[in-house]
Symmetry: C2
Subunit: 252 residues, 2 copies
DNA sequence: GATCATAGTCGTCTGCCTGACGATAAACAC
DNA sequence: GTGTTTATCGTCAGGCAGACGACTATGATC
């Protein structure tokens, strides 16, 4: 069968971003308020159309920079600077997921340290960090008592998939350091695990585990007392990306 | 900014399939010979355009059925019948990956028991099961001495990603049973692991591990001697999908 | 300054799991 | 019967994780 452009239907292709961070001991995601129909006024994940000459990862990195100012990080390089970790998550293409037209969305997952404040085109009221449980619960009420509408499109599913990916990936990789500033303490790393998994971990066993895993953490020599209590050693992420044996997520 | 159809470039969206099986102690993938340019005559992964009213998973299931006759399996249901396991793998959208036009391909991974023979539109010479190393090696020679050209498009990368997904996923899930017929022995399951991982496993420790993991295997009561030697107990896949603790892949 | 609260770090002990490997069992080929 | 093949059970030592005690070093409070 010869090449026939009419043989396939045209699609719009977008990238959507699940940007996760840990703020105040809670796993939070970046949400933007939609300024136009459909779902006008509702919260959604940031995203946008892929341009004609762009790769998917380029489009995701561009959107991430536009929304947060973060530079994307090459996934093959260990997390060391302030660049965020960025990886492809999954692709969503239900014919009815966008009422306007046939849109296939390639969702990406970004992990970032706690950031000052989000910006969506400079308008702070249209972007926020929200705890993922708040974004995922249907018809609940937010921290300010305002009723929470479900996320636009299928973004609740996308967010849930991204959160699950992050939860499982910090088990067997050093990705949890992507949530930390360039230098961090064992306690700060432990609080990342606790926030992402939603569990409490034994500080002594956690300390033994992470400091005993070769290549996970590299001491920088400095100490800090910013958490109160005894000063803690500062570390940065080591070269290891895969943890073997993995961190163990406690049973439910 | 209002809705403007001219604001986004049109894409073609396809699904490509990495169909894996275990034949003669080797991990094999389904390859089809391209009958038209580009890459005419070269081997490629099966796939095709997503139709206008189709979900991505529907399109993948349709292509799988067209190429192999396999029914796709709902991923939320444990593998029990002859349906293949089918899951989304990743999406590839380099602007230059198809010289004709802008194509975004949503690759899917299918795992199937050993099948009689592939069929590609009824023409057997245009479809085959090939060991994945043979398909991935560049410029080598196949089993029949015929020189092997690299796979078309970026399909070598897609195949490599699919193989890596399968290799890691049988560690912590019961997916290896998707390579087995409905009833199988512990030895057959072990040979699946050995073929996918490319290692030799201790039969005694493997037997202890898989029979000791709750929900992994359910004895059917029957026995078989089709492998020679002492008759082996027959099992089918249990309800468990996640293995905890996981199977451990031996070090390199 | 003594005391307390907080957080970090080092050890110990016990149980479980794994890898290595010996031994036995049940079929088939000759 | 003997040998071969595969299946299955057992044993043992080492490693790792969970539970938890003990000590250290800071800031806060009295």
């Amino acid at each position: 069968m010869p090449y026939d452009p009419s043989a396939f239907p045209p699609f719009a292709v977008t990238v959507d971003l699940v940007v996760l961070t840990v703020r105040r001991h809670a796993l939070c995601a970046l949400a933007v308020r939609r300024g136009e129909p459909p779902f006008q006024g509702r919260w959604a994940l940031p995203g946008g159309f892929v341009r004609a000459d762009e790769d998917l990862s380029q489009a995701a990195a561009r959107e991430l920079a536009e929304e947060t100012g973060l530079r994307a990080h090459d996934p093959s390089v260990p997390v060391q600077d302030n660049g965020a970790h960025l990886e492809q998550l999954a692709t969503y293409g239900d014919p009815k997921r966008d009422p306007r037209m046939r849109v296939v969305s390639v969702a990406h997952l970004a992990l970032a340290p706690d950031l000052p404040a989000p910006r969506a085109g400079g308008d702070a009221s249209n972007a926020r960090w929200a705890p993922v449980e708040e974004l995922l619960e249907q018809g609940g009420y937010g921290r300010d008592g305002e009723p929470v509408a479900p996320l636009a499109f299928d973004h609740a599913q996308v967010l849930a998939d991204g959160v699950e990916r992050a939860r499982s990936k910090i088990e067997y990789s050093s990705l949890a350091t992507a949530f930390c500033p360039p230098e961090f303490t064992v306690g700060e790393l432990r609080r990342v695990y606790e926030a992402v998994w939603g569990v409490a971990l034994d500080p002594r066993n956690f300390h033994r585990k992470v400091t005993g895993t070769p290549g996970f953490l590299v001491p920088t020599g400095g100490t800090t007392t910013r958490q109160g209590g005894r000063p803690a050693q500062l570390f940065r992420a080591g070269g290891a990306t895969l943890l073997n044996p993995p961190m163990l997520r406690p049973e439910v």
